[in-house]
């Protein structure tokens, strides 16, 4: 069955390729060639919007908080599948409630027979967590299939949180240093502001949706960072090139020209990344659902917007190109 689907898809791709190469199907133009959208003037709208959104995101973080998973909070997570049909969540809840674990959350996870059990960290150190799992196993017995059991003790969880935070900081610093060497400091600073903007909005998203915040979320944040910067760097590269070539062009025009000339690429790339992420979101399984959902938000919604509407216009305020007119050096060609 699967083989036939793959063969059919392959045939479809071959036919499509032949038709479009022969010119039977017209090529799709995402962005018309001469787009001259005034992105820089749009900063009068985009900056206040971003500032407002960032404030909303930060207050959400403080009001709602993040839904810390067991990686960072410690505790136990058990995914079970009822062997005989749909699981009786209410029944399970009352049975597990009798064990005296305090905070026990049950949640249907995927199919009707799949249940995710979360048990808050038990007082009494690492052994107490293991004892909790044993009690659950003893209570539920063999009527369920234990699909996944994760137990994180108090020390490991605090270490993971520290690692995650340090890692995020380290990544930002490392990338900044790199940008500082490759470009001028204003670019590095602009990229950093854009970075922080990305992370703040994504954390706001995670707070609103109450998606599990665990190690994979840190991975998602780092990836968002990497890709948003990837985009920013492409535009910055162009800005630098234009700065060298057009010594007299006013900064807003120059920035606009840079963004517009890379716009087609920005959009095509974001479509392809979104398509890949969409496939992961829809079919990649629930184990990485929160990971891909966060990435979808960060890369697709925030990342592109940031590089175009924040990272580039902000260069005006940081004084990029203000010293050009006195520059006597011959135009450098890369």
């Amino acid at each position: 069955m699967t083989h036939w689907i793959i063969i059919a898809l392959a045939a479809f791709i071959v036919i499509l390729t032949v038709l479009s190469v022969l010119g039977v199907i017209p090529s799709v133009r995402v962005v018309p060639d001469d787009t001259k959208f005034d992105f820089i003037r749009f900063r009068r709208i985009s900056f206040p919007i971003s500032a407002a959104l960032s404030i909303v995101a930060i207050s959400l973080y403080f009001v709602h908080g993040l839904n810390f998973g067991i990686d960072f909070r410690g505790g136990t997570l058990i995914e079970i599948q009822n062997k005989s049909g749909p699981a009786d969540i209410a029944g399970l809840r009352s049975e597990l409630g009798k064990l005296g674990f305090g905070d026990v959350q049950l949640q249907q996870f995927g199919g009707p027979s799949d249940v995710l059990i979360r048990i808050a960290e038990q007082p009494g150190g690492d052994q107490a967590q293991q004892a909790a799992v044993q009690k659950v196993r003893a209570t539920l017995g063999d009527s369920v299939d234990y699909r996944r059991v994760e137990v994180v003790g108090p020390r490991v969880s605090s270490e993971l949180l520290a690692y995650g935070t340090v890692g995020l900081m380290l990544a930002i610093v490392a990338i900044l240093v790199y940008l500082w060497f490759r470009f001028e400091w204003q670019f590095a600073l602009g990229a950093m502001i854009a970075n922080v903007h990305d992370i703040v909005l994504t954390i706001g998203f995670m707070s609103v949706t109450q998606i599990d915040f665990d190690l994979t979320s840190i991975a998602a944040l780092l990836t968002i960072l990497g890709y948003s910067l990837n985009d920013t760097v492409v535009i910055y590269d162009r800005i630098r090139e234009m700065l060298r070539r057009y010594k007299k062009m006013p900064m807003p025009d120059l920035l606009n020209a840079s963004i517009n000339s890379t716009l087609s690429r920005s959009i095509v790339t974001h479509v392809t990344v979104s398509l890949a992420l969409l496939a992961l979101l829809l079919f990649g399984g629930k184990a990485i659902h929160s990971f891909t959902a966060t990435m979808m938000f960060g890369v697709v919604l925030v990342g592109t917007y940031t590089s175009i509407f924040i990272a580039s216009p902000i260069l005006i305020y940081l004084g990029v190109g203000s010293t050009r007119h006195g520059d006597e050096s011959p135009p450098a060609k890369r």
Partner: protein, 534 residues
């Protein structure tokens, strides 16, 4: 930019081909690959989240190691004082992080020089730190303080972790599991990864036991009830039985024979009596001699087999046991007898281990994750390919070929490194498909711009490549830094993501600089195009 010498082109094609071929072993069954020559056996390893299994992080109890060390020093000091016939007036005791010896003031100097003999260089003879295992200081008034420097404790800890790893290896291997991974993490931690376990309870049971077994005498002069009321002689311990209902025993502290003297232990059935499961054991020569002597002296009295401070059984010695072997019966189930034999054969851990992290994935979920990852990969690839074809037509085809080679190369490199593929790792590959086309997009858009700027086809393609490649390098390095940091901080599945992401970036840059360029250069040579169809 479009000219390749014959050799350079050949080198590129060969490199790409060889790296892609490295992925081939993954398409064959494991048994088939095993028959191939060693260099051809490298393949992807499925992470525990895909094949199912247990990841267990253990921590060696540092306090127990320190306490053990201090007790041992106290014992040594006691013996040294006895040998030198120096009377210790106030006794020898462990106080905090020191051992304190109190002698008559006149004997202080003699005692100190005697106690100094206990100290050895840290790290054995090879240790070059110049530090000693015990520091002896005169606290005045006949009080001598023996302390253990941090370096000696650290050294002892290192040994304890190493010993523990060896013992765990023996224990886990006895369970008959496939390719367990046991490795040290940090200073005091041990990571145990066992693939393909349905229920890790037994594994945890076996890992969690110290398995320190002693043969000791029961003290018949004190009733357990009296001892529970507080009248426990200083040379005795009050221990509980391992079986339920728990019963108290008064056991002498002195050890007749310790588990370290065992050479073998096997599960079996009691042939004479009920046929219940038992464990038979055999001592080494010195253990056999000690056991024979002890049983000779104590015929008619009960002795106790003590495991991890619990009394397994306390039989009466009916006759001297001189053969150097015996059996333990303690109302075991067959599995308990099996496990006890495994534990006794592997030996006792130098210090208790605590499970501080456990992640177990059942085989069912692993299967589902593989299926989900595959489906997402196919769908993602098809969507991207269709979109690229529609957008760039012929050049879209070039991009798709480059991306296909790119993905094959990712698998090749992963196999070459024997890397672990996890579900987030698969996500990393799918994401790379989306990202890898970016390098092509950058080049094509640049070519379009150059044409727009008035260049002819070939010069535009040339300029497009040379300008875009610098950007491709710049933009990919930022993502690579993120992947590197993630690799450093992440564990398990997340690290798998960092690996595929990082390798994906490297292969992406490689294909952009070589494969894509080679394809386009070939096309230009063949067609000599006047216009570029993008």
């Amino acid at each position: 930019m479009l000219y390749f010498s014959r050799w350079k082109a050949l080198a590129i094609v060969l490199t790409a081909l060889v790296v892609c071929l490295c992925a081939v072993p993954n398409f064959f069954a494991e048994g088939t690959v095993k028959t191939w020559p060693k260099w051809a056996q490298r393949r992807l390893v499925l992470g525990l989240d895909l094949q199912g299994g247990s990841h267990i992080l253990l921590e060696v109890d540092g306090n127990a190691v320190r306490k053990d060390k201090l007790n041992q020093i106290a014992d040594d000091a006691r013996r040294a004082m006895r040998e030198a016939r120096i009377r210790f007036t106030g006794g020898i005791a462990v106080r905090g992080d020191n051992v304190e010896v109190r002698v008559a003031e006149a004997d202080t100097q003699g005692a100190i020089s005697k106690l100094r003999e206990l100290a050895q260089p840290v790290g054995g003879l090879a240790g070059a730190s110049g530090q000693r295992t015990v520091e002896v200081t005169d606290a005045g008034g006949g009080l001598i303080r023996l302390s253990v420097p941090q370096a000696a404790i650290t050294e002892r800890m290192r040994q304890a972790v190493e010993q523990s790893i060896q013992i765990i290896e023996k224990r886990v291997n006895e369970l008959g599991t496939v390719e367990p991974l046991i490795q040290r993490q940090g200073i005091d931690r041990i990571l145990v990864q066992v693939p393909g376990l349905q229920d890790p309870s037994r594994l945890k049971e076996i890992l969690g036991k110290t398995a320190k077994m002693d043969f000791r005498m029961v003290d018949p002069s004190v009733l357990p009830e009296q001892a529970q009321q507080g009248r426990l002689p200083p040379e005795d311990d009050l221990l509980m039985s391992a079986q339920t209902p728990k019963a108290p025993y008064v056991i002498k502290k002195q050890v007749l024979v310790s588990g370290a003297d065992l050479t073998d232990a096997q599960p079996g059935f009691d042939s004479q009596r009920s046929g219940e499961p038992i464990v038979t054991f055999r001592f080494n020569t010195s253990g056999a001699r000690k056991f024979a002597q002890a049983t000779q002296e104590n015929v008619g009295l009960p002795f106790a087999i003590v495991l991890d401070n619990e009394v397994i059984s306390a039989p009466v010695i009916r006759e001297p046991i001189t053969g150097g072997s015996g059996q333990i019966s303690g109302g075991f189930t067959v599995q308990q007898a099996n496990d006890l034999a495994i534990l006794l054969r592997a030996g006792a851990l130098p210090a208790p281990l605590t499970i501080i992290e456990e992640r177990t994935v059942g085989p069912g979920l692993g299967q589902d994750s593989i299926a989900a990852g595959e489906l997402a990969a196919y769908v993602g690839a098809v969507l991207v390919i269709v979109f690229m074809t529609l957008t760039y037509r012929l050049f879209g085809l070039f991009a798709n070929i480059a991306v296909a080679i790119n993905v094959a190369m990712i698998f090749g490199v992963l196999s070459l490194l024997n890397a672990t593929l996890t579900l987030p790792g698969i996500a990393g590959i799918v994401l790379t498909v989306g990202i890898a086309v970016d390098s092509n997009v950058l080049i094509y858009e640049r070519i379009r711009e150059e044409i727009h700027g008035g260049r002819n086809a070939i010069s535009a393609i040339d300029a497009g490549f040379s300008r875009a490649l610098a950007t491709i390098l710049d933009s990919n390095i930022t993502t690579f830094i993120a992947a590197a940091v993630l690799f450093y901080i992440g564990t398990g599945p997340v690290r798998g993501f960092a690996v595929t992401l990082g390798i994906g970036i490297v292969t992406t840059v490689f294909t952009a600089f070589t494969v894509t360029r080679l394809i386009v250069a070939g096309w230009v040579r063949w067609k000599r195009p006047q216009t570029v169809p993008i």
